[in-house]
């Protein structure tokens, strides 16, 4: 410990004596690590697991039912109303939910102001809440499929009612009243796995949750894919028609359940085939949350491209630091030689170097966090879409410090080895 303090003192002295040199060296290294860290921050939060404790038990259901394209095309993620109802009504899964996204304009029916708020609607089924573990602050879910009852999210509750227990209050949507039966707590889901299919994985969770049948009956808009043979006149006209717009997720807790579900899906599409529908070559697909997010490519490809570039940049910064340090050790080899002459072992010289590199690493870490934050802000200015994804947490800060220490050490390693190996008899002459 005493030796450590001695080395630390020497390193401090060294840094202060050559401050211009070390400022240059440390800041280039910190810029490199900072850019890298900002990039990691984005990719890390994009590729994080939104529901880690049960992500391997929640599955997206993609059916082999869309026949328009060539037979070997990819499965599509949406299904018809009737398909969804079949999946919903079988008793295999622990929880099942189907959903579509819509948008409405709404206001507190008792408000004096006539201003309407835009609200993103998740038209879904009761299973949504236990499956996603959406946290209720007040009330609970609707009890009937056709009820004019809704659940609202926390942000929306703040916005319209100023927060608090809004259960029992009424919203006006398209001129009709809807009763609030539940209010959620603040709910952060990153990525929003159930909404990953339409490039919306990093939106916030929804404003209003409503029964699917109610949403359809009230003609709340849908994004529809349909086959040309059918004419669909309105949203509610989708029941029994070939309009594809619903996504399904199931929670399967055991392997047996999963096998049963797969079997059920296969039977289902065989049944549709028997009724004259064309099928693709693909199998019905059950992807768990992480497989599903990978399949949906939620990690922005541009960020991956930039990751490539920023790791090259990091390499360049390490190279730069390393060659600067080599020069530095070269000019300090007299002192090293002297130390060796008076009895310092190679180990001692190396240890001293390690202490110095840790000190450099710590300075670098501080700057890294600063630059990292700065580059994160720059990235968000250039990609406004990233605002939702890039949060700085303690793991990230620790990672930044770790990377800074490690890169400092790497940069220092070769110069240090060289300096340890300096031939003794020449340096002191």
């Amino acid at each position: 410990m005493e030796m450590f303090n001695y080395y630390l003192k020497l390193s401090f002295r060294n840094l202060i004596r050559n401050r211009l040199f070390f400022i240059l060296m440390i800041s280039t290294l910190a810029v490199g690590v900072g850019v890298f860290l900002a990039n990691i921050a984005i990719i890390k939060s994009m590729s994080s697991d939104p529901i880690p404790y049960k992500s391997d038990r929640i599955f997206n259901v993609s059916l082999n039912i869309w026949s328009l394209d060539n037979p070997d095309a990819e499965l599509i993620e949406v299904m018809r109303y009737n398909d969804a109802m079949h999946i919903l009504k079988n008793d295999i899964a622990t929880h099942t939910m189907v959903h579509y996204q819509s948008k409405v304009y709404t206001r507190d029916i008792n408000a004096k102001s006539l201003t309407r708020h835009q609200a993103i609607v998740r038209a879904t089924t009761q299973g949504f809440f236990p499956l996603t573990d959406a946290p209720f602050a007040f009330g609970g879910v609707w009890q009937q499929d056709y009820a004019k009852q809704i659940v609202i999210g926390d942000t929306f509750n703040q916005q319209v009612f100023g927060g608090g227990n809004s259960v029992g209050k009424t919203l006006e949507i398209g001129g009709k009243p809807f009763e609030i039966v539940g209010v959620l707590k603040p709910w952060n889901l990153k990525p929003v796995f159930y909404n990953a299919a339409f490039d919306q994985a990093f939106n916030s969770t929804d404003d209003i949750y409503a029964p699917i049948e109610t949403a359809m009956d009230n003609e709340w808009a849908i994004d529809l894919r349909n086959m040309s043979t059918d004419r669909i006149h309105s949203v509610s006209d989708n029941r029994g028609k070939n309009g594809f717009f619903l996504q399904a997720f199931v929670q399967l807790d055991t392997l047996e359940q999963k096998q049963l579900m797969q079997q059920y899906l296969d039977n289902y599409s065989q049944h549709r085939k028997a009724q004259g529908e064309y099928l693709r070559a693909n199998d019905n697909r059950l992807l768990d949350v992480n497989e599903w997010l990978t399949h949906q490519k939620v990690v922005d490809e541009r960020m991956l491209a930039f990751a490539l570039a920023s790791s090259l940049f990091l390499a360049v910064c390490i190279f730069n630091a390393s060659s600067l340090l080599l020069a530095r050790y070269h000019s300090a080899r007299f002192e090293t030689g002297l130390r060796r002459a008076v009895g310092a072992r190679m180990k001692d010289v190396f240890y001293q170097g390690v202490v110095e590199s840790m000190l450099i690493g710590s300075c670098c870490a501080v700057l890294t966090l600063l630059f990292g934050w700065l580059f994160l802000q720059i990235s968000m200015t250039l990609f406004p879409a990233l605002k939702q994804t890039s949060d700085i947490d303690i793991t990230l800060i620790l990672m930044g410090i770790g990377i800074a220490l490690v890169t400092s050490f790497i940069s220092m390693l070769y110069p240090l080895i060289r300096s340890c190996r300096t031939s003794l008899s020449t340096t002191l002459k």
């Binding site: 001695y6 002297l338 002459a341 008076v342 009895g343 008899s425």
Partner: protein
């Protein structure tokens, strides 16, 4: 104390082999003050490097204070340098931005002494060379002779078995050189073993024993003060 037998040191470049030391034999006993002289390129620097464990040798045997050097690894050599040898260089080799105290402190750190012990030794050493009042000075604030005395203090602080001095007065004017030489003589009479490389024949003559290196070999044992019989050394080794 120091016993070298048939030491060879060969420097190889692409095409040429240079025998810096060839069948080099030397025995130095405790309490001796040996002057090593010789023309440039004779191998006296190589001798000092080998003797000081700064450089290795190719053939022969070297025993320092009863320890056989052959086959020791770098750690063991470092330990030996630290404990048994005190270096005094021609250009002092003080660290310019350490004060005197820290300069002398440096080798003691590697010995693992505690702070009190280090302080005691540093103070003693500085007193020995007459610079006790200037512990906080930087080397640049001292004259050349004073700097060399600091270097000597640094060497003494470790209480080495042997002092190796490489042209200790080479960079000093005659007055300062005399002071340094007087200090070395005093140390010798107090019991230190000293080997000094020099090109000054007067200095060489003034010390107990004079050894000349020519072409990598000891060619002359002019013993001015009869302390030992060289023939008996050869038999002993």
């Amino acid at each position: 104390m120091l016993n070298m037998k048939n030491i060879s040191r060969i420097y190889r470049s692409d095409t040429i082999q240079t025998h810096a030391l060839r069948d080099f034999n030397l025995q130095v006993n405790a309490g001796e003050f040996v002057a090593v002289t010789g023309p440039s390129g004779s191998g006296k620097s190589t001798f000092l490097n080998v003797a000081g464990l700064l450089d290795s040798f190719d053939q022969g045997a070297y025993e320092l204070d009863g320890v056989n050097i052959q086959g020791l690894n770098d750690d063991e050599l470092s330990r030996l340098r630290n404990e048994k040898i005190g270096f005094i260089f021609q250009n002092y080799n003080l660290i310019p931005d350490f004060n005197l105290f820290d300069n002398i402190d440096m080798p003691l750190r590697y010995r693992g002494f505690n702070a009190a012990e280090r302080k005691r030794r540093i103070t003693n050493a500085l007193e020995q060379v007459g610079l006790a009042s200037r512990a906080n000075y930087l080397p640049s604030q001292l004259s050349g002779g004073q700097q060399q005395r600091v270097a000597i203090a640094r060497a003494l602080a470790g209480e080495p078995k042997i002092l190796l001095a490489d042209e200790p007065t080479g960079n000093l004017d005659s007055l300062m050189a005399r002071q340094v030489m007087e200090l070395l003589h005093t140390l010798n009479t107090e019991g230190s073993t000293i080997i000094m490389v020099t090109h000054d024949p007067d200095q060489a003559r003034a010390v107990g024993r004079n050894v000349q290196v020519i072409d990598g070999q000891i060619t002359d044992h002019s013993v001015y003060a009869p302390t030992h019989d060289n023939a008996s050394i050869a038999v002993k080794v």
